[in-house]
């Protein structure tokens, strides 16, 4: 008897905890659109969100920016999101395979550059110039790392550190710990006060496609489809281009 009562008490005490495990995004409210977007889209999507809000009276766009693989995991585990914008196709594929989305559209391309300190003190002009320098790149497990690896393949060069995401890769450069960093063109442009971007031909084979899709279980399906389509329109594409993305 007593044990039963204790268990019941435990269940009661845990019930409110269970109720608040849905994550930060409070979806479902009228006119609120929850967009899960790759961290590299932070600047561009924040502006696109504002423009979308301006065109849609009473609509509020809320963003959850994080690594694409974290976002894909959150979505397949049931996080209440309307739209998913991934920095690569493999994480979008995971979401599609889990049945959470269908028919994603590619809305942008991003390519790698070699970011160097302002003024390019080591005179880096191409990937071969990284020989003898300390440089940082993303780990192969994350989208920017897969691109970096294909650019480094066959060169015999290896970074001093394989970072977990593109922002921390760039941070190692801005803190002065490395001489160069393989990052997206968009990240180098966002930090153009501190770094210069060196384009290199090998990166043509290391381009990431960014797919976007309205999610099957979107609390706000109509608005979700509208937002996904909006990112392909000229207005949004202009914002993406200014941020350093290329048209798909």
């Amino acid at each position: 008897m007593r044990a039963k009562a204790t268990l019941a008490a435990a269940a009661l005490a845990l019930a409110p905890l269970a109720a608040c495990t849905g994550g930060g995004a409070e979806a479902g409210a009228d006119g609120t659109l929850t967009v899960f977007a790759a961290a590299s889209l932070t600047e561009a999507f924040t502006e696109i969100g504002e423009r979308f809000e301006a065109e849609h009276e009473g609509v509020q766009v809320e963003f959850n920016f994080a690594g694409s693989s974290d976002l894909a995991a959150q979505i397949t585990e049931g996080a209440p999101a309307d739209v998913f914008a991934s920095a690569d196709e493999s994480n979008m594929d995971k979401v599609v395979e889990a049945g959470a989305a269908t028919d994603p559209d590619t809305f942008a391309l991003n390519r790698l550059v070699i970011a160097v300190p302002e003024g390019n003190p080591d005179g880096v002009a191409g990937i071969a110039d990284l020989a003898g320098l300390d440089f940082a790149a993303c780990a192969e497990e994350v989208p920017c790392g897969a691109a970096a690896q294909s650019a480094l393949d066959g060169t015999g060069l290896a970074p001093v550190t394989y970072e977990a995401d593109v922002k921390s890769t760039l941070q190692k450069l801005t803190l002065g710990e490395v001489d160069a960093a393989l990052v997206y063109r968009t990240d180098a442009i966002a930090a153009e006060d501190e770094v210069d971007a060196v384009e290199f031909p090998e990166s043509a084979g290391a381009v990431n496609a960014y797919p976007i899709a309205a999610l099957e279980d979107a609390p706000n399906p109509d608005l979700a489809a509208e937002f996904a389509a909006y990112t392909l329109a000229d207005d949004a594409q202009a914002v993406l281009e200014a941020a350093g993305f290329q048209r798909s």
Binding site: R2, L7, A13, L17, T161, Y162, A164, K172, L175
Partner: protein, 266 residues
Amino acid sequence: MPAKRIRRRRVPAALLAPALIGLAFLILPLAGLLARAPWTELPARLAEPEMLAALRLSLFTATAATVLSLLFGVPIAWLLARGEFPGRSVLRALVTVPLVLPPVVGGVALLLVFGRSGIIGAWLYERFDLTIPFSTAAVVLAMTFVSMPFLVVSVEGALRGADIRFEEAAATLGAGRWTVFTRVTLPMVAPGVLAGAVLCWARALGEFGATITFAGNFPGRTQTMPLAVYLALQSDPEAAIVLSLILLAVSVIVLASLRERWTAAP
């Protein structure tokens, strides 16, 4: 009367209920991991040289960080518990800063001091061509920074709880300060030091944020188990679960076997 003895031993319900809820809260996430673990993958993962390298590095660096924490943390604890000087409470608060600081920020702070263009790091780089970040030493430093406060807090608590009259008696009998410390104080607070060391080691073993920020991630050199787990999580969540269970199992085995040795000691 055995019945009476059992009744007296029974835990009050007012303690038992919250204890059970608390235990469930602590244990259920582990049960969740165990339920989701792809056990068939375990043998293949255990044979991976990269996994073994990460595990070996984790055990080595966490132990090194614990040794450093003992060497410097016990004296800090003594200073805080026995020392009489102005600003002691401020100092005590400062020592616990790494506990509150998000570890990633701790990593950036370490870079600002020991990095190639940091306060001390720039001098090391120019004078001796020495760079600390991206090295195994950086892993140990990051772990020590984050885990030493656990040891200091635990040892300081033990020192405050210890009866100072034993130390005074030893001193009146002619023992020098160092002798009093090593022969009287330390043995008295040994359980607190051990508990602090265990806490410190466990925290160092799980260290992630400061390590990846300050030491970077390079297999065999700075990639500890938590870093390997985090990166596996990006591409293969099931592998990440297997890796973290291996880390958990190893740490439990190490701690349990140590405990046996301590209790077996006379």
